[in-house]
């Protein structure tokens, strides 16, 4: 059995909302999000830093939240898939994934949408190679990726128009 350990107080923002929580130092960021903050849109696929289902943005950069401790997010801004939607309106990336059939079971989708966000925030018209590189850390077992490529191109286009 693991020994009990003292909890550590941290403050962070998730999707713009401030939180102050006490966590065990060994708690992973993804566990904090899913189990304490009830933000279950961030998934755990492999828990071995491979699949990217747990991808979130930390201070604007994608990270695998299964490979960070929650205490390391002290003072940080985290964005999860729940933060994409604004005022009941789907984000252009979410619309694009729906319109292009860029998902089937949806397990990989939150992570893919956040990797897409990091990509198209800087680059509205990514090339095929740029898309490949951007999502190399996100595994999808269903779609065969072709519709994801379409969705990312459409999302870039939507965002440019927005």
């Amino acid at each position: 059995m693991p020994e009990p350990v003292d909890k550590v107080s941290i403050q962070l923002k998730v999707n713009g909302k401030p939180y102050a929580v006490s966590v065990e130092p060994r708690m992973l960021l993804v566990e904090l999000l899913r189990e304490e903050l009830d933000l279950t849109g961030t998934h755990v696929g492999c828990d071995t830093t491979y699949c990217g289902a747990c991808t979130v943005l930390m201070n604007g950069a994608t990270v695998k939240s299964c490979t960070m401790f929650a205490v390391q997010a002290d003072g940080a801004e985290i964005q999860t898939v729940e933060g994409l939607e604004k005022d009941g309106q789907l984000h252009p990336i979410q619309k694009a994934f729906g319109d292009s059939y860029g998902l089937q079971c949806g397990y990989c989708t939150p992570g893919l949408m956040l990797s897409t966000l990091q990509l198209i925030t800087k680059n509205h018209e990514p090339s095929e190679t740029e898309i490949r590189k951007a999502i190399a850390g996100n595994t999808c077992r269903c779609t065969g990726y072709q519709n994801i490529f379409k969705a990312i191109r459409l999302a870039g286009h939507n965002l440019k128009g927005a």
Binding site: P25, D47, T48, T49, Y50, G52, T55, A61, T62, V63, K64, T67, M68, F69, V71, Q72, S115, Q118, T129, K133, A134, A136, G137, N138
Partner: protein, 278 residues
């Protein structure tokens, strides 16, 4: 702080090696000292013909820095490590301190003149990278000593380098990788440095291959001699990624391709490199 906590404490940098190892219970440190909150540990500076990296500089920061555009073998390395998310966290200092036999940075930086600046409560010392890594997953670092800075000398004019890895997918270590740095005077090679990754307990310097190129005009015959020397120098282990013979052949083929790119870059041509995926 590490001195106070004793040898049950470990440093945490990007956590992209240490946290997976802790999950597997291969590492079980009692205390972790998180370097990420220490200011002034992440930087890229150019100074006196050398590039200096703070130990906590992320792979992605190097990938996107203007310096790696002008020093393209650094870009080949940084941009090819794992995937975007891992590059956003993983650090150059952590990679060298981990001394994974498949890690990219050690293989690449051994073709350069690279010094590791280490710091402990007792002393500050500078160790050449060739002495820093002593065995697989082992370095000269004492338990209370850390990597503070990595200093890489800029190659001379007329010198070009390239780094290529063969990988099964992005978020895995390469099957085999090859780094080549060539200094050319017209068609004749003045100096060569060839290092192979994933084919020994530490990166393998193929010195006989360097000799095969030095002082010669590089043509197909000379390259074939260097490739033979590479096959002899490496000592790959058979595993799920391939047999020893397969990896030997791969090492020689990667060196051939890296030589051709290094020669073009030595002439000042821009060549984009991407790793090869199975």
């Amino acid at each position: 702080m590490l001195g106070q906590l004793g040898d049950e404490a470990k440093l945490l940098a990007g956590g992209q090696s240490l946290i997976p190892l802790m999950k597997l219970r291969f590492a079980n440190p009692r205390h972790l000292v998180d370097l990420n909150f220490v200011a002034g540990t992440s930087y890229i500076q150019e100074d006196n013909g050398a590039v200096k990296f703070g130990a906590l500089t992320r792979h992605s920061e190097i990938e996107n820095s203007p310096i790696s555009q002008r020093f393209p073998i650094l870009h080949d390395c940084a941009a090819g490590i794992a995937d975007v998310q891992i590059r956003n966290r993983g650090t150059i200092g952590g990679s060298l301190a981990e001394a994974d036999p498949s890690g990219d940075w050690a293989t690449v930086l051994l073709t350069q003149k690279t010094d590791i600046r280490c710091l402990s409560p007792r002393q500050e010392r500078t160790v050449p990278l060739s002495d820093f890594i002593t065995d697989a997953y082992s370095t000269v670092l004492e338990h209370d000593e850390l990597v503070r800075e990595i200093v890489v000398k800029r190659p001379d004019k007329g010198s070009g380098g390239a780094y290529l890895a063969f990988k099964r997918s992005a978020p895995v270590y390469p099957t085999v990788s090859a780094a080549v740095q060539l200094t050319m005077k017209e068609d004749v090679c003045q100096h060569a440095s060839i290092v192979l990754g994933c084919v020994g307990l530490v990166p393998v310097r193929a010195q006989e291959a360097d000799e095969a190129l030095r002082g010669r005009k590089i043509d197909d015959k000379v390259i074939a001699t260097a490739m033979d020397a590479v096959r002899t120098a490496v000592d790959p282990q058979p595993d799920m990624r391939g047999s020893a013979e397969y990896k030997r052949t791969l090492a020689a083929a990667l060196v051939k391709r890296a030589i051709s790119i290094a020669m073009l870059r030595a002439r000042g041509e821009r060549v984009e490199v991407s790793h090869i995926y199975a």
